[in-house]
Symmetry: D2
Subunit: 282 residues, 4 copies
């Protein structure tokens, strides 16, 4: 994801310095015009810094370490955090950057790597109005549409986590109904065809329905442990805000069952196979 975004920024004429723990990944971008930094801080000296990392831990180290971006960003610089991280960390980043005289925009994205490459991402952005305004032209060259949802940065993260929670719900509910209909003899693809031809025409039903019907969970487009992580972060946001989320609770247990049975390298849609397993069908 990060590479595709960087490439699009370069293509649009921006000067981009990149950093990756695995130097080789950064070097690839050098061939299209990026400078390569040897520390996060070194890559953070421009007007805006984009981060796209796996989880909270990765962001924490890149942000708060001595060689990290907080220590090296210039006053007024904008940190654009595109990863799906916890609302709590997003809040902490907003506060830390403010204290350092820097700015922070949470901007998680919707879309898979191919959408990133095609500059077709959807961006959910939140942060102080001036900061968002500063980076909006950059969003325009990497995504097809930006939704500005709040001046409170972590609100964007809650929206993104909610989207992933909704996708996981689609996976589980397709899993349950396919377990039911297939036990009465209906072919899973036929059932899915009825759904997507009638009321459930969204791509999400097609994509995940086919993965479940085909039981094709490898290679993982989005690995099960990341699915668990996002459901856990949605639950954590709910706990902070005191919002019970019973379907998310159920999904968390499903992901744990999947992982307890060796699902670490499966696509998260494999959660959609558990209902059939409980039904004794597989």
């Amino acid at each position: 994801m990060g590479s595709a975004i960087a490439a699009n920024l370069i293509k649009a004429g921006h000067e981009v310095t990149v950093y990756n723990r695995t130097r080789a990944k950064a070097d690839k971008l050098a061939s299209v015009g990026a400078k390569v930094a040897s520390t996060p801080g070194e890559a953070a000296k421009g007007d805006a810094v984009f981060t796209m990392l796996a989880d909270d831990k990765a962001i924490e180290s890149i942000a708060f370490d001595a060689n990290g971006i907080l220590a090296h960003m210039k006053p007024g610089g904008v940190h654009v955090a595109m990863s799906t991280i916890s609302a709590a960390l997003s809040k902490r980043l907003a506060e830390s950057h403010a204290k350092a005289g820097q700015r922070y925009v949470a901007a998680p994205v919707l879309g898979r790597p191919d959408a990133a490459a095609a500059a077709k991402l959807f961006i959910v952005a939140a942060g102080a109005a001036d900061a968002v305004k500063t980076v909006t032209p950059l969003f325009d060259v990497i995504g097809q549409r930006t939704f500005v949802v709040s001046e409170q940065a972590d609100a964007a993260n809650v929206v993104k986590l909610s989207c992933n929670f909704l996708i996981a719900t689609v996976i589980e509910s397709l899993g349950e109904t396919m377990a039911l209909t297939s036990k009465v003899g209906i072919d899973k693809h036929n059932f899915l065809d009825i759904l997507t031809s009638t009321l459930f025409g969204a791509p999400i039903y097609k994509t995940y329905g086919n993965l479940i019907a085909d039981e094709k969970f490898k290679p993982a487009g989005f690995a099960a442990p990341l699915g668990l992580k996002d459901v856990r972060l949605a639950l954590a946001a709910g706990e902070e805000l005191r919002v019970p989320l019973p379907i998310a609770s159920l999904l968390r247990d499903r992901f744990l069952t999947l992982l307890a049975h060796g699902g670490d390298d499966l696509d998260w849609s494999a959660v959609g196979s558990l209902a059939a397993k409980d039904a004794g069908s597989v």
Copy 2:
């Protein structure tokens, strides 16, 4: 629903005799060319009999009573049962009609009254191939597409119940995520706009999302007790087939909470308001 279907059959040139417990409703169809029967049995003497009733109980009385359709259908006649009934009753009807030398097609529909009026219903049909073949031309004049799913009639009912269970899941999951995002300050319509502009473009998300965001649960397009009934019937089918359905279990409890608080005349989308209530937001 029944009136619209009958009207379309008449419009296509078929001779139609109608029966309704409330005579006045049947009489309305007389003006467009229907004959009006005074008992179900009297309306059941043609080549095919369509039933469209509220629940199992209603179908049972109209089917099995002395004046009912089983007692009066001619040999080889086809009973087309379009209501959303239990898989168990559908099975019993199939067996009873077979024993009586009659035929039975389960043909529940997807679509609201306006779709019925416009002959745009989706029909999910199951039954013996010859019986389905006999009534297919009739389906063509009342719906836009027929999905034949099985030779076992009750399979169609399981598909239909699964669809309604999936809709209820969409309602609940929108309710939970709106409860979460609105507590962090996001406007419900904005959140819904993000969903439907990106991954969740299906009409079902728009329709129900707006009802939940507007908290507009009256008048009921589909009343909460019917929602509970369909979830219960999905669970009953699951119990018969030994398929655990944890989201359906959760939905059943939600519907009971709604009804316990006077929700009988609310639209079933009101289930989508309970998460916010649990979160102390309303």
Copy 3:
């Protein structure tokens, strides 16, 4: 159960006529002084009739058939229904007997066959005060204590179903905590010993905890399908009364999973093995 109860009534000097579908079972009681009837109705001509049967269906046939007890009980006779049946059927029996000038007491029991033999049952009774008073001396010779809970008969059934629901909850919660503690290396019996030596000293924890720790689910003391039946009846009572029961919903799904994997002849405590299975431990 029925045999033990009848034997205690005979021992106390009562004249008892018995009926069992399997004649041989009834004949055994002849040796201790019972008369043997060849139809339920024939066994129903005394002052009180006790029924102890497997489920609603069995009671319905014995009660409502032409040879059944309703047709043959004398005016003022008392039907004492000791089975764990649905609240709905209990209500219907109360109404039917009243209409027939007979009386009805719901009196489900707590205790296993050995308690029945030792006249140590606990009896939960409900019904019109005069009817309960009439049969109280009979309760005294078969049980150790009678709890009269209501003048509305089905209230006793709701209490009994609640007790079984609570036992199933103990089973599931022991299953979950044993799955957790055993995965961190704690022996299941050691864990159980801590529980029962401290806060959870009730026999129910010892009995079911040991069955789960030993994974000894055969022969069934109380078979899993009966467990499912009782949880389903608790849920049905909840639906009638509009009381959501989320733990019962969860238990229903657990029982279905168990049965879908061939658990029909296992003790219901086998539900307590499913958490460990989900955790990948077995």
Copy 4:
């Protein structure tokens, strides 16, 4: 709790130095013979250090700060951590003390303050055998029985969290069955009397059943936020070990509902009132 434990150690002839953030609390113990320290580290110089604090955060600061106990314990000293903390923190403490040449025993307790005062606590201990052996004589003067469960310290915390999870399950299941039975007219105390006189004789059912029946949730014996904390920590242990805990998930949502409605200063048994609320009874 901490004061009572310290007092019992002093009474047994041990030399005790105490520390409390609120100096006055520590001073009270001076009157019975304790020395009062002005930092945690100062109180940590003896052969064993006992900590009894509210949560992970409190333990972390007292353990890892410059004035904390890790920095000041002597080689071979034993840190006995009696609080209900996360398994993860317990593991980290074990590792940190080992690295510092110190020893660590996790020893959470079962019992309320009155049991602590009467030296009647139950202690669940885990840690290296020699360390446990060293502090066993101390356990003997503060508790009635010690259960040594593992050489892996955090196992004791998992046991303790499981116990609290089981208590919360009892609360919720009593809440659900009381909601059901009371809606059919049964008095809550009568229902509870049946339970505790028959199968559910453990004190836990009596204590919490009465609190729920009386709706007496203030003052809190154990406040709802602590209940949520412990359920969350049980879930976190389950996540680490990959053990789905569906009842715990359900309880977590219940606690959030309670807290979202102003339940912060209620006893955790108030969770047992939510089923009745969902049922529209209160």
